[in-house]
Symmetry: C2
Subunit: 123 residues, 2 copies
């Protein structure tokens, strides 16, 4: 799931560049969970989208390599890590907020996010 | 490239739902081109990201099935189509604008979009 060296960028278009980091079905779902306070592997696995262990492992490694998240050990024996957003990862919040507005407008069955999420601002 | 029937949604989370439509490396690049006035297959192929014919064919079919774009014939013999954004597709503009702000902030080598793009508002 993880490529140790990222491909050469397709262009310096800011949209294409952003998609090199988050242009897949899962990365922004994990960022959503982190913004909502989840920190641990088992917490991400428990989200309603039912990400698989393999995909989650790969995405977390990619996101760490890309500087979107940081990993720290919270337990040894057995070793367990928790994950936190970096400033770069947390700054994706407005992208997520606009995705919420789009989905809520065109797919009325989608959940309305809490106001606290929609009103949050990045630093 | 195209699945005639879309998978069942992973959840009714508006972020996960949006990613069912645009959670890949190419769809939002094509939407960018359409917002910038491109209409024809050869114009999308000419963009700096060098999408391949196969991927472009698949993405356009997916986007039409999902109601993000509409296809009309502009020529017969040989038959040629042009593509336009629907209201649903055009309403992804704010997602693209936020991706531009994010990339410009964290990846200084990325292009600055024209002000006309960043100041555009959806209906």
């Amino acid at each position: 799931m993880t490529s140790p060296i990222r491909r050469a960028p397709r262009s310096f278009c800011p949209i294409a560049t952003t998609l090199e980091f988050v242009g897949d079905r899962w990365t922004l779902v994990i960022i959503r969970d982190l913004l909502n306070g989840k920190r641990r592997f088992s917490e991400f696995l428990g989200s309603p989208e039912r990400i698989t262990t393999n995909i989650l492992t790969g995405r977390l490694a990619d996101m760490e390599r890309d500087g979107l998240i940081e990993k720290t050990a919270y337990q040894t024996r057995p070793l367990r890590h928790e994950y936190r957003l970096t400033a770069r990862g947390a700054a994706l919040l407005p992208v997520l907020q606009e995705m919420c507005l789009w989905a809520n407008r065109f797919w009325p069955q989608t959940w309305r996010p809490p106001e606290s999420f929609m009103e949050r601002r990045i630093d």
